[in-house]
């Protein structure tokens, strides 16, 4: 069996080896103390001991705001997708599954050009995580939706390749690896929160009303969710003639989300919360019946009014008269 154990002391060298495969991005902590993925210039900035980044890796595949089209004179042209070879190191299983979910949406026919170009140049290296109170994934979940996974063990990591690119990394880092005790096979992989019965959204659970009146429509829950991908498209003319069409993250809890000229198909916040529930936990065509929640706990952590839609799925309590 090939060597597949990396001692923690050799991590920096390993990171250098990863750089051969593209610009290295990894979890770091910002000046103000926010965990995030960012370009790793200095290995000292690496913070592998993070719980969750504020924004999931989706930002690399689906930027917050992206110019999808330019129109100069008469014709529209595709915007620049900005894809560069990139290695994203230190991704937790939930986020890997989040990317896998987005892949199903954006790589389906017809593939989204920007997304697929960026996805094709992205190498994913996963790492073991330590769940905290916000996470609700089953203990020991390990995702295989990556090129390489580093399972922490003792004074280092067991490396498992899940792709050709993963193999290439192993080969390039060969000299840093040694033999380790064989790993237990991964316990489970996949989405953590089971699909829900769509009818639950019309339950008379008292929380629905409470959520509808307390949600401040700040948008944080969607912005931070690894599998939220709703977007708005807007077009801006340029002074020099022509125009630019941008795509920007949207949130189904905003009043404008279901609005058409003269009507709103989800006029109340309650309607919109129900819509969110339906999309997150029941899925839309063609992902109907699939929950998109990967259990990362971000929505719960960032919500200023502690809304956690999952609480709705416990048996409805009788509303007190």
């Amino acid at each position: 069996m090939a060597n597949n154990f990396l001692k923690t002391s050799r991590l920096d060298q390993f990171l250098d080896a990863l750089r051969l495969f593209g610009e290295l991005h990894a979890p770091t902590t910002s000046e103000s103390g926010v965990h995030r993925f960012s370009l790793l210039d200095d290995p000292a900035d690496l913070n592998l001991d993070y719980r969750r980044t504020q924004i999931p890796p989706k930002k690399y595949l689906l930027p917050f705001r992206e110019e999808i089209l330019h129109c100069a004179g008469d014709t529209y042209r595709e915007g620049h997708c900005g894809a560069v070879d990139m290695v994203l190191f230190g991704v937790h299983s939930c986020d890997l599954e989040g990317i896998a979910y987005l892949d199903r949406v954006f790589l389906a026919d017809p593939a989204d050009p920007g997304y697929s170009a960026r996805r094709a140049s992205l190498t994913l290296v996963g790492v073991t995580c330590h769940p905290d109170d916000f996470c609700f994934c089953p203990e020991g979940t390990v995702s295989t939706a990556c090129d390489l996974f580093l399972a922490a063990s003792g004074d280092g990591f067991h490396l498992t390749s899940h792709s050709v690119r993963g193999n290439a990394i192993l080969a390039a880092a060969e000299h840093l690896l040694e033999e380790g005790v064989p790993l237990q096979p991964a316990t489970s992989s996949g989405l953590c929160f089971p699909p829900q019965d769509p009818e639950l959204r019309f339950s008379d659970h008292p929380l629905w009303e409470k959520f509808a009146s307390t949600c401040v429509s700040c948008g944080a829950c969607s912005v931070c969710c690894p599998t939220c991908y709703c977007f708005d498209v807007r077009e801006y003319p340029a002074l020099s003639g022509g125009c630019t069409r941008i795509r920007e993250w949207d949130n189904c809890l905003f009043a404008s989300h279901g609005e058409v000229a003269g009507a709103n198909f989800r006029p109340e916040r309650l309607d919109r919360l129900r819509y969110r529930f339906l999309h997150k936990y029941c899925g839309f065509t063609p992902l109907q019946g699939i929950s998109s929640c990967v259990g990362c706990g971000r929505c719960k952590e960032v919500c200023p009014v502690d809304i956690d839609l999952r609480e709705l799925t416990v048996a409805p309590k009788q509303v007190q008269p």
Binding site: Y76, E78, F106, E259, F265, R266, L278
Partner: protein
């Protein structure tokens, strides 16, 4: 037909050939798309929609009002209601536009073959149904009786009046018109009831057991028409509704157009009433 190298975002070039005002706020825009776009449109099925780009303002979903590609052009009947349509209505022939599509599922034409078809249009809902009607009349022998019931608020808001009257006169179809109220006298010598569309339906005798009904109009219309049709004996699977939702991409990604767990842009915009049962927000 699929264009392997054309990005799904990028509209094909098109230009405005002609515009004809149909009412104060609605006009028929005849648009000539470039050859590749026409090739795509050759697969068009009435009820499908295209994404029309008005450079500088944005993109909107519109159901063609004719059978595109026939003369190298597509007709779009558009009401001026907001941001994009406002700019569209300011354009002169020759103006550059963009076009993507067709998208979504249109009317199940093969299934409808050999059956009577009842078209129920309210207001601007005539636009997609005009396209269906053109198809039905073009392949007249393929279908059973064709009836169009069309309701508008006022006589002057009744679109394609002359054209529809002429078609009816030619004998291929039956036409019933109605207006909510008639402040002015009706001209043109064809009959038009005063009342709502459901009232027209009430007195109508037809072979409910085999008829396909195609409905398009403002949201409140659907609720009562579906109930009336079912009561008359039209099975919910044969009641076809063309729905409107906010759309940003047309290809099932932006997630604004959800109807229950379906997306209007890929599963629709034409739905069967039976598929919408149990989805309270659908109608």
């Amino acid at each position: 037909m699929k264009q392997p190298h054309h990005s799904p975002h990028v509209p094909y070039a098109a230009h405005l050939v002609e515009r004809r005002d149909l009412s104060d706020d609605t006009a028929l825009f005849r648009i000539a798309p470039e050859a590749d776009a026409l090739a795509q449109l050759s697969s068009f099925v009435p009820g499908q929609f295209v994404q029309l780009s008005v450079p500088g303002a944005g993109e909107i979903p519109i159901s063609p009002a004719d059978l595109p590609a026939a003369e190298g052009t597509v007709e779009l009947c558009v009401r001026r209601v907001g941001h994009v349509t406002e700019l569209l209505h300011k354009l002169e022939p020759g103006a550059q536009l963009g076009l993507r599509g067709p998208f979504g599922c249109g009317f199940p034409l093969d299934e409808m073959a050999g059956r009577p078809v009842l078209l129920l249009a309210g207001g601007l809902g005539i636009a997609p149904l005009r396209s269906l009607l053109m198809h039905l009349l073009r392949q007249r022998e393929r279908y059973g009786d064709i009836t169009l019931m069309y309701g508008a608020k006022q006589p002057r808001l009744m679109l394609f009046r002359e054209e529809l009257a002429a078609l009816a006169a030619a004998g291929g179809m039956r036409l019933y018109l109605t207006v909510d109220f008639a402040p002015e006298k009706l001209e043109g010598g064809y009959s038009c009831a005063v009342g709502l569309l459901p009232d027209l339906l009430k007195g109508f005798r037809f072979d409910a057991a085999s008829t396909y009904a195609a409905v398009c109009g403002p949201p409140p219309l659907y609720r009562c028409l579906v109930a009336d049709l079912e009561r008359a004996g039209v099975a919910a699977q044969r009641i076809l509704l063309s729905l409107e939702r906010r759309m940003r991409c047309g290809v099932g990604r932006c997630c604004h157009c959800g109807i229950g767990q379906k997306l209007c842009c890929v599963d629709g915009p034409v739905f069967r009433a039976s598929d919408l049962k149990g989805i309270p927000e659908a109608l």
